[in-house]
């Protein structure tokens, strides 16, 4: 491409738009369905249960240690499907580009999306591009949708948790939100934390192979672990009991939380999942997770109980309890 930046003309629908798609987007998402450049992708029906999800990505800054907006867009959508127990079949990606966005930044995002899509073994089969004037999009926004197929015998959902279930987390919590916060530079903190952003469908597959009886799967994105646990406790009308000492959190993440006064259980993750597994199957599922690259530090962090329905209790290191409420608003750094 000769132009260095996106201009409003790239969004006008004419030759420049066409060239943008042909020369910039297609090479990253090359597949037969997309190459047709029809108005819709046509996918043969494969099962009578389809998972369908949509999401929008507005993260700032666009690039951060461990990922970028493109990677989260692919992983986030794939993960939403995987949390339904679905095998992702196709994604759409719609781009809102800000006038003035550097072509090389867009290329970098697209390359990252290609890499993430390959990791997830999924195709981007539909897309769209619009250009908005300066100041209206902070560089780039991405909206996605995803379709997946739920295999026979798999039945996961937030309302399926039952007393006795073990609760498993796939790895250390908080890496993503802290990595992005540090990349923003607002609090002048320096360190090596990287986002955990990753596609979890492969991990979910090996978990379902170990046991099809898994009750619930959720990825703790915005709102973190606490919000997911609370939502499941309420949807399933059960109580949740977590042992704080079992929750894996990196020392650096803890240090940033200490410095800012953050509660790590509300931090967003983009490559972790929480699983509610019937007691008898928990050991097999945990072993399967720990054998997978994205689950090496998986740990059982608690269980479901019949008491205190709708409430999440955290057992603290000194042996006391506290309630874990869902996130009620933005976590602000505090000095008190």
């Amino acid at each position: 491409m000769k132009d260095r930046r996106i201009t409003l003309s790239h969004g006008a629908g004419g030759k420049l738009s066409h060239d943008l798609v042909q020369e910039l987007f297609l090479p990253f998402f090359a597949n037969d369905l997309l190459r047709c450049l029809d108005d819709s992708a046509v996918i043969p029906a494969q099962s009578n249960r389809i998972a369908f999800t949509t999401d929008a990505y507005v993260v700032k800054p666009l690039f951060f240690p461990g990922g970028d907006i493109g990677r989260i867009a692919i992983c986030g959508t794939v993960n939403d499907l995987a949390m339904a127990g679905a095998r992702p079949v196709g994604l759409s990606a719609s781009f809102i580009l800000e006038e003035g966005l550097l072509m090389q930044d867009l290329e970098r995002v697209l390359a990252s999306m290609k890499e993430a899509a390959q990791e997830a073994n999924v195709m981007v089969v539909a897309g769209d591009t619009k250009v908005v004037e300066h100041g209206a999009a902070q560089g780039l926004f991405i909206t996605t949708a995803g379709i997946g197929i739920i295999p026979e015998g798999v039945d996961v959902g937030s309302a399926r948790a039952r007393p006795g279930d073990k609760i498993i987390v796939s790895g250390p919590l908080g890496d993503h939100e802290i990595a992005v916060l540090m990349a923003r530079g607002e609090f002048s903190l320096h360190g090596g934390i990287e986002s955990d952003c990753a596609p979890l469908n492969g991990l979910v597959e090996v978990m379902l192979e170990a046991s099809q009886a898994i009750h619930s799967l959720r990825d703790p994105t915005r709102g973190g672990l606490a919000t997911v646990l609370w939502e499941i406790a309420n949807a399933s009308r059960v109580g949740v009991l977590i042992d704080e000492r079992q929750i894996p959190i990196r020392n650096e993440v803890r240090a940033v939380c200490d410095l800012l006064g953050f509660d790590p259980y509300y931090l967003a993750n983009e490559g972790r999942l929480i699983a509610f597994v019937p007691e008898g199957e928990a050991k097999e599922v945990l072993q399967a997770m720990q054998a997978h690259p994205l689950g090496r530090q998986a740990a059982i962090i608690g269980r479901v109980v019949a008491e205190h329905s709708g409430k999440v209790l955290l057992k603290t290191p000194i042996g006391g309890h506290r309630l874990l409420d869902p996130l009620s608003g933005e976590q602000f750094p505090r000095i008190c």
Binding site: S188, H190, G192, D258, L259, I335, C336
Partner: protein, 77 residues
């Protein structure tokens, strides 16, 4: 209004600033309230300022007292 975190001074910069390490995370901290602090010292940091040098001997003494308390051989004070 009292969050204070212990950190270790890893280097001194000009104009009374120091690079302080908190379990692998670093921030610049002002030594205006603690000018005697040196590289290797632990300091208590509040709103970007070191407000006190922490005494490693005092910390060790407390460790010992706690151990004794657990064994039931003395009172912690």
């Amino acid at each position: 209004m009292c969050l204070g975190i212990p950190g270790k001074i890893v280097s001194l910069a000009p104009t009374g600033l120091a690079a302080v390490d908190f379990s692998g995370v670093r921030r610049e901290v002002s030594l205006m309230l603690c000018p005697e602090a040196r590289v290797g010292d632990y300091v208590l940091v509040h709103v970007g300022f070191a407000i006190q040098r922490l005494d490693p001997e005092e910390a060790l003494e407390t460790l010992k007292l706690f151990d004794e308390f657990l064994e039931g051989s003395g009172e912690s004070s």
